[in-house]
């Protein structure tokens, strides 16, 4: 089963059989009865394994915490839906990156997807999403105010890092452009993943790219979320639509004030 099938195909379920998914570190169990579905998940050890199997009830660990969903008649098909993390993520390069005036830098961020289950045909009930890998909390902002975010284990880097991406990982192209007349020293940025749409590629997931323009305006950083799929792979299938960023809805000033602090960099004269 390739990556696109994993995220686009409908699976059927039989009563008294549990479907067990291994998606990297995430272990996911799904069970169906006449009038209910039950889901359980656990964080396992690091592995590149991505598989699906049908197992009898008696081999399921007894200490799992199940979440149950009741129906008049439980649907017999389901689909896995990848989602972006439920909080922004902080991306930082392994070392400070200097960007001379007028230059741009294409980078690549790899982070784990969250997984939800759609019970029933398209438009059916969607369960709460669980992380395919538990990420550490981090803070973006000052000690008086800021945002609770996730820290990812891999620093943002070039596209070679995408080669190690797992099927449940999202690869996000990020382009930083220095439109000032000074040397820009990129420290870190806060990526609001809810604005990203997701696509299923051959070996992993892709998101819509992010463009960050660093200008002389106040605030200096402008985030843009193009709706086109990334050009780094052909034949991508869109499987999740991101939320529209607020700057398309509200006045530019609100956007600037809200998102301008998502990018931390120094400007060297």
């Amino acid at each position: 089963m390739d990556n696109q099938q994993l995220w686009t195909r409908f699976f059927s379920s039989e009563p008294d059989r549990v479907i067990f998914f291994r998606l990297g570190r995430l272990k996911l169990w799904l069970a169906r009865a006449e009038r209910e579905w039950a889901l359980a998940s656990e964080d396992g050890s690091e592995t590149n394994l991505h598989s699906m199997s049908r197992i009898p009830m008696d081999v399921v660990p007894a200490d799992l915490k199940w979440v149950r969903y009741g129906f008049r008649k439980a649907p017999d098909t389901f689909k896995l839906l990848p989602r972006t993390p439920d909080r922004p993520i902080v991306l930082r390069p392994p070392d400070l990156i200097h960007l001379p005036p007028g230059e741009s830098l294409p980078l690549c961020a790899v982070f784990p997807a969250w997984v939800s289950v759609c019970l029933g045909e398209t438009g059916g009930f969607q369960t709460a999403a669980v992380p395919s890998q538990i990420l550490s909390d981090t803070w973006f902002g000052s000690r008086e105010e800021g945002h609770l975010c996730y820290a990812i284990e891999h620093p943002i880097g070039d596209f070679e890092s995408a080669a190690d991406a797992r099927p449940s990982d999202i690869v996000c192209p990020v382009q930083i452009e220095n439109e000032t007349k000074e040397d820009l020293v990129f420290e870190r940025l806060c990526l609001r993943t809810s604005h990203l749409s997701l696509f299923a590629g051959r070996s992993h997931l892709w998101s819509t790219p992010v463009r960050i323009r660093y200008t002389d305006a106040d605030p200096p950083a402008r985030f843009e979320y193009p709706v086109q799929p990334p050009v780094h792979e052909t034949g991508l299938r869109r499987i999740h639509q991101g939320e529209l960023p607020e700057e398309k809805v509200f006045h530019r000033f609100v956007f600037g004030r809200r998102f301008g602090a998502d990018f931390q960099a120094q400007v060297r004269k």
Binding site: V90, S136, D137, W139, L148
Partner: protein, 287 residues
């Protein structure tokens, strides 16, 4: 002839007067209730819950006073004498209600200063509790073991108040001592690994590992980890368990007081220092 305390001034029947007054009171009470609720809702949304609650009570108390006056006037009572007496009564009440007035004024200062909000965890003296309400005369706290504590505003203004949940993130410090034979570099590495391995510990700001002191033949370290304020209990429990596990795995012992015994001298009688100019009784014991 006994003086009638109040004079009916209106030229209508008493039942009509009473009915009108009752209607005025009823409609007035409904209007007052709606106005105070609306003020609370608007102020809560645009300012804070604290201000909303205070304004609601202010509107109710002041409105109730004027409603009562209107009710009595409608009934035909002459309040001139009452108002004249009120001026003298005010002075008397002022002396008697000094503490309440002080609390009221302190309450206004607290409203302006906003050192905390409803829902904040605060420490006042030895009391730690969640702010349940901020009223004109006092603050009400609910302690973590569910006790109700009322603190007059005057005391709040005079005391040191620590708002534990003022900022969104906090640092939890652990002061640890290690035996002198342990390697401080290894200890530092273990502490950083404990912080990195717990997903509730914030990666940024970075955890603090400080070799603080050497005292009482032990190395003192301060280990500070940052966390989101609502995760206090989970972080405390999990980090302490992780610390214990990591120290056990590395066979690192926390120091404790030890006493060394010299077996050869164990049975010797201790020699007492010589005593000067002491009178002895027949048994040879001093006084």
């Amino acid at each position: 002839m006994t003086a009638i305390p109040y004079i009916f001034l209106a030229d209508t029947s008493p039942w009509t007067q009473f009915g009108t007054a009752a209607l005025l009171l009823g409609l007035g009470a409904i209007f007052l209730g709606l106005l105070s609720s609306a003020a609370k809702a608007v102020l809560t949304r645009h300012v804070s819950l604290h201000i909303g609650l205070v304004m609601r009570k202010l509107i109710l108390y002041v409105g109730a006073f004027f409603l009562l006056v209107a009710f009595l006037l409608q009934l035909g009572f002459d309040l001139t004498g009452v108002l004249a007496t009120a001026g003298i009564a005010t002075v008397a009440i002022g002396f008697a209600a000094q503490t309440s007035l002080s609390n009221l004024i302190s309450g206004l200062f607290l409203i302006g200063e906003k050192p905390f909000q409803i829902g904040d965890l605060v420490r006042v003296g030895g009391t730690l509790g969640v702010v349940d309400s901020i009223d004109l005369l006092s603050i009400k706290l609910r302690t973590l073991d569910n006790l109700f504590v009322r603190i007059p505003n005057e005391e709040m203004i005079k005391s040191q108040v620590t708002t534990v949940t003022r900022y969104p993130i906090r640092r939890m410090d652990f002061d640890l001592k290690f035996a002198m034979r342990e390697d401080p570099e290894t200890i530092e590495k273990i502490l950083k690994e404990v912080a990195a391995g717990n997903h509730l510990v914030l990666v940024d700001p970075e955890p603090l590992v400080l070799f603080n002191n050497i005292q009482d033949r032990a190395m003192e370290f301060r280990f500070g980890i940052w966390f989101e304020k609502t995760n206090f209990l989970k972080v405390r429990n999990s980090v302490l368990k992780d610390l214990k596990r990591a120290l056990d795995q590395a066979s690192i012992e926390l120091p404790y007081a030890k006493v060394a015994l010299d077996r050869e001298r164990l049975h010797e009688k201790p020699s007492l220092p010589a005593q000067e100019d002491e009178d002895e009784d027949e048994d040879g014991e001093g006084r």
